[in-house]
Point group: C2
Chain length 443, copies 2
């Protein structure tokens, strides 16, 4: 394991040339923004944030984050307006655009480097007004705490997480953030020690110090906020993939763990996919992802109530126009009948009304071996496509979060996965009928 | 209710003519048997038993039972041989034949009246050597305890049970015996009081006195043996039918409850029936019924393990040659795939081997939302007929009681219910796709 890690370690530090070029961009942007903030007395100061500030960035895709700290008595509206003005004005040469987090922020690209101009409040530790307010404290804490050696261990961990497709805090991904990577390395000292600890981790184990209790698979406490569980934003599946990858790496260390892991698609299951597609009016990625994930979950429940077995499900969106709710069904056609268990015959009123009602409404009624009265019901739908179309037509309010109602009312399509789909969408959808690369380590 | 019951009461006492004719037959047979027992010093005495002796018999189908009491030190073999000789010799004019209970006994028919010559031991109360030994005590006890009025109440109850098809203690039926009918009337005094009590009965309620505890839906203690639960021989379904019939009668008393209740068949479900038919070498009805009921139960379990949903099942035999195991399936064709839940990813060894194994053997492996590793398995059989044929070919020892192995090895057929079947067999099989007449009272 040591050997593999030291090989990787040599590849993760950005080269001098890349470092120089990144610094040039960063300094240039900083100056541009610095000039703009002079116009606003609401702004306290400016500082670099994220992996660039903490020197834990990877050569590929390293963003430069600049935080604009506002006085804490400024309204949220003003904070948003002023920071947008500053962002657009300072980056005007680079076609800036708005992105959405809790508050909107301005993004632009300079030579493949994304620049994020993010507003936050200048508060005391713990007195958070917006989610971004913690960031300057994270930066300060990590700059102080991480040794030079540790910074590269963070890079190794990030590479490991990226290769196994579990890096990224956005809701679309629900993976590991850059900050949690730093916290883990700080906690265990090195990537190797982290691996050795994670392979032995127990359910609900707490990494860090807290007086609160949390209900996630594992708990990782934010060192600057003992009430915050950084692992809460990570899906169970991704925590599982991380733990399994660590175990697989410990068992059979190889460079493979630091290369992109390809999934293995089972193409024969395209026919088992039920897909709901719709267009939506653009909104913040966090919001649309949250909405389509909830829609997928409630519609899965409805499919199960309708008698279908949902094997896996997934939501996907291009974050611009199209959204997809994807359901992998055991079978898209199910039996016409099913049993409904009623009360035991000892229960006087219950059994009487159950029998009377079902003599009228159901196909058969009888007394089961366990003493329960059972009725045989006929399903309204045996075909998943028809079931879903009918359900959305009649029960939009039950199955779909309120925020998507107007989008759905403008139209949606329900179809099986064997229909023609664009290559990129097919790739996303195929995830539910694939064995994830992480698990293929066990091959 | 009183009115209906008193109307019925007038019809249940056998007419003078029938009584006279029954007595003539009984006395004649008694004399014939009495003459024969003189030859055997092993025999102590002779007595009438059953409903004839207790004067609780119904005009239709009333048997005459004569018990031959043997000295208690006689071997079972001798008891069987001598009683058979006595039976055949005394009834030789009436084409006697052997029937099987715990011990074989001789039966014959005189003018539509069945005569049973049954051996038992002459023991003290409680010192039972064979199941029939209790009978003389039952007879004596009931003759002493039942008033003239009560005897007709027993007849009313028996008529009620027969009409609702839950009368008959044989294992094929698992219904209410004549004796339990007498015990119930003795307990509650009249049919009306019985109804009033049964409609309020609670689960596991004990009727009678005992120091033992029993695990049946209701418990009815034998007045001459506090350790014996007479309800143990009644199926849950039949106890349920009885309680429901009592409630329905109380709610809406009518003469209908004393006429044969016809079931309502749902003919559309013939295609959902999977039938296993085989021929067997003749044996005692109790034995073949027990065997085919057990076979039906274990094969139901196997079908469920194979992914099929067994809605109802039933065994049937003509007690001579043919036996049928009948399975009403939700669907005779099921989905090709199913999920298998593995260990949670926190379990180190378990998850490793589960993933490795299933990467080879199964269609897909992934981490479920609940943290369990799941594999997608392909079924070997999606067709119930093929599944059953294959199962019986390979796993006869698992699915079929030992006592039927040689019968099955001589051959069996597996087919769906839409095949041509004789009318009488169709009628029996149709029970699983019918609403029982008892429940139709609630219409």
């Amino acid at each position: 394991m040591k050997e593999i890690i030291s090989k990787i370690a040599k590849t993760t530090i950005p080269s001098k040339i890349i470092q120089k070029s990144k610094k040039e961009i960063a300094d240039k942007v900083y100056k541009l923004v610095e000039k703009e903030i002079q116009k606003y007395s609401e702004v306290v100061e400016l500082e670099f944030g994220g992996s660039y500030a903490k020197d834990t960035w990877l050569s590929k895709n390293a963003d430069i984050d600049i935080f604009i700290k506002f006085k804490k008595n400024i309204s949220e509206e003003k904070l948003e307006n002023i920071s947008k003005k500053i962002g657009f004005e300072s980056l005007k040469k680079y076609s800036p655009y708005v992105r959405y987090s809790q508050h909107p922020y301005v993004e632009a690209k300079i030579k493949d480097t994304k620049i994020n101009i993010v507003p936050c409040y200048d508060v005391k530790i713990g007195e958070w007004k917006s989610a971004a307010d913690r960031s300057p404290f994270h930066t300060k804490f990590m700059k102080k705490s991480l040794t030079r050696k540790m910074r590269n261990e963070v890079r190794i961990l990030k590479t490991f997480l990226k290769s196994n497709k579990i890096y990224g805090a956005e809701i679309a991904k629900q993976g590991f953030s850059g900050y949690i990577s730093e916290v883990l390395i700080l906690q265990y000292g090195s990537f190797e020690n982290l691996i050795k600890s994670i392979i032995k981790i127990k359910e609900k184990q707490i990494i860090g110090k807290t007086s609160k209790s949390f209900d996630t698979a594992i708990v990782v406490i934010d060192p600057i906020d003992g009430n915050r569980n950084l692992a809460a934003a990570i899906s169970n599946e991704n925590i599982g993939k991380f733990i399994l990858s660590c175990r697989a790496f410990k068992n059979k260390p190889s460079l493979e763990f630091f290369k992109n892991q390809k999934s293995k698609i089972s193409n024969k299951f395209w026919n088992n996919l039920l897909i709901v597609k719709f267009e939506f009016k653009i909104r913040s990625p966090d919001i649309i992802w949250g909405q389509i994930k909830r829609a997928t979950s409630t519609l899965s429940t409805q499919l199960e109530l309708g008698g279908f077995t949902v094997v896996r499900s997934k939501a996907h969106t291009d974050e611009q126009i199209d959204a997809y709710l994807i359901f992998f069904l055991e079978s898209t056609i199910i039996s016409e009948i099913y049993q409904k268990k009623g009360p035991e015959f000892f229960r006087n009123d219950g059994s009487h009304s159950f029998i009377s009602k079902n003599l009228k409404d159901s196909e058969l009624v009888w007394i089961g071996n366990d003493g329960k009265i059972i009725s045989l019901e006929k399903r309204k739908h045996v075909n998943a496509e028809k079931f879903m179309k009918e359900f959305l037509k009649k029960n939009l309010n039950v199955g779909i979060p309120k925020g998507l109602h107007s989008d759905f009312k403008r139209g949606y399509k329900v179809f099986l996965g064997n229909k023609t789909l664009s290559k990129s969408i097919k790739e996303e959808i195929s995830e539910v009928i694939s064995v994830d690369g992480t698990l293929l380590h066990f091959n």
